[in-house]
């Protein structure tokens, strides 16, 4: 019934998609990527705003980790890497990191390959070559312990923490029970729940890392927002019935279920443990998704109550509506209606529906965000450019 399949990679990981990724090293060559994308529709062409102009060690670390992490993502079968030549994350610097993934990679540089038009032509030809190559690969039987499923929430409403995240939490527990790994981030949305998350840590070291992560998130929100930091729990939240920051954050972290927390990973870092994992990443959806994808997640569940259509280029994102109104109003964007819990559907039945849908998506069925092309790719920086 729940048989799942995927594509085996050189390193022993398994993808549930077989994408040819066309990736720029730096925003300067985004136009080249856009030209390739118009010519080779089946390739996953992403653009971004980074690659240079931020020299701090943390920003450089994130830049390399996210770009190489996207290449390593198991859903990516092969890569066309397009660089400029003089950027920080140039192809020479990136190549050693992406080579470890053992995937076919073709590299071009606009300054060496004849300018933008010629590079686009070469890049498009390479993308076609790689597509032909990867299309010969067959799906094979996949075990649940090869899956890293990410849980995300965004555009939340008062019901997100009552319906959608509760259902996703039940699913997370089911997945961990099957041997899969579940990961979620959004450290700002953990503020006030240190006592809960640290207690569930597998050992004292992990508990300490959880405490420090949440402390940093709280300090950062105070440093940036000053007196406005109290808006982390806003009057609107209170009108919706949230009485404390702990209550609001419980609604967020519940999406990860109740399993033991085995590891805290940095933003975009790949877990080495299994079970439930926390990522020290930001609450902003776009940035958070990139971190989770770079951590190697092949599939994401994403709850929303106000309704966001956002998906991600290299992974299927299953949208879970927290209320029936938004599910109906944005039917083309929503995959699951957790609002049905309010109408009396038992949680077990909803979770069963989510498992069925998940199995079909793993086996190739497109999510709404995939079908609609709603990909977003952006990632975190800590400093402004210079």
């Amino acid at each position: 019934m729940n048989e799942i399949t995927g594509y085996e990679r050189e390193t022993g990981s398994f993808g549930i998609r077989n994408h040819v990724l066309v990736l720029p090293t730096v925003s300067c060559v985004n136009g080249v990527i856009n030209r390739i994308s118009r010519e080779v529709r089946e390739a996953v062409c992403v653009t971004h705003a980074h690659g240079c102009g931020r020299g701090g060690p943390r920003d450089v670390q994130i830049l390399f980790r996210i770009l190489s992490g996207l290449v390593h993502n198991p859903n990516v079968a092969a890569v066309v890497l397009v660089g400029l030549g003089c950027e920080v994350s140039n192809t020479k610097n990136l190549f050693p990191l992406i080579q470890e993934a053992g995937k076919p990679v073709e590299v071009f540089n606009v300054q060496e390959d004849g300018g933008s038009l010629l590079t686009a032509k070469k890049g498009a030809a390479a993308a076609r070559r790689l597509l032909a190559e990867v299309h010969t690969q067959k799906r094979v039987s996949l075990s649940w312990d090869k899956l890293l499923v990410s849980m995300e929430c965004g555009g939340s409403d008062a019901m997100s923490g009552v319906t959608a995240n509760v259902a996703m939490g039940a699913l997370s527990d089911w997945l961990v029970g099957k041997g899969a790994t579940v990961i979620f981030g959004e450290n700002t949305e953990m503020i006030g729940t240190t006592h809960v998350l640290a207690r569930r840590a597998k050992n004292e070291q992990v508990a300490k890392e959880i405490e420090q992560m949440i402390e940093r998130a709280e300090k950062l929100s105070k440093d940036i927002m000053g007196n406005l930091a109290s808006l982390v729990i806003s009057p609107g939240n209170m009108d919706g019935g949230m009485s404390t920051i702990a209550e609001k954050s419980m609604g967020c972290i519940f999406k990860g279920g109740t399993s033991t927390i085995n590891q805290v990973v940095d933003y975009g870092e790949m877990p080495t443990e299994r079970g439930l994992i926390l990522q020290d990443g930001p609450g902003y959806d776009g940035d958070s998704m990139a971190g989770l994808a770079a951590s190697g997640s092949q599939l994401m569940f994403f709850s929303t109550g106000r309704g966001t259509p956002a998906g991600f280029p290299t992974l299927p994102v299953i949208k879970v509506a927290s209320n029936s109104r938004i599910y109906e109003a944005m039917k083309d964007d929503m995959d699951i209606n957790a609002g049905s819990l309010v109408e009396g559907k038992p949680l077990d039945e909803l979770r069963g529906e989510m498992i069925d849908r998940m199995v079909r998506v793993i086996n190739g069925e497109k999510t709404k965000a995939e079908a609609n092309g709603m990909e977003v790719f952006t990632f975190m920086t800590v400093h402004p450019p210079f």
């Binding site: 009552v162 509760v166 404390t244 209550e247 109740t258």
Partner: protein, 90 residues
């Protein structure tokens, strides 16, 4: 019968109103015999599942989310007027 409240975790002493409940209306949920709402409970707000004494923990998601600052009767509205954050007390 229509379920108009949801208990998220078996340990919880509050439930979530799935729609606005009027004072006197029967609150009903899965495995919960009806009991009257003592006052209006706005949609997505909390209703007490049992009497909660002053100083007792408010449990939702199976976890402590606040501490009550006055006695709350079963069926009462649980919000910022009768609880405080334990976190802010420290």
């Amino acid at each position: 019968m229509e379920h108009n409240i949801l208990v998220i975790h078996p340990r919880d002493n509050v439930a979530v109103a799935l729609r606005t409940l009027a004072a006197g209306e029967q609150a009903t949920g899965k495995e919960i015999a009806g009991f009257p709402a003592l006052e209006d409970i706005p949609a997505s707000h909390k209703i007490a599942l049992r009497d909660i004494g002053a100083g007792e923990e408010i449990i939702k998601y199976g976890e402590t989310i606040a501490v009550s600052i006055r006695d709350i009767k079963k069926g009462g509205w649980v919000h910022t007027h009768n609880l405080e954050s334990r976190r802010w007390k420290k």
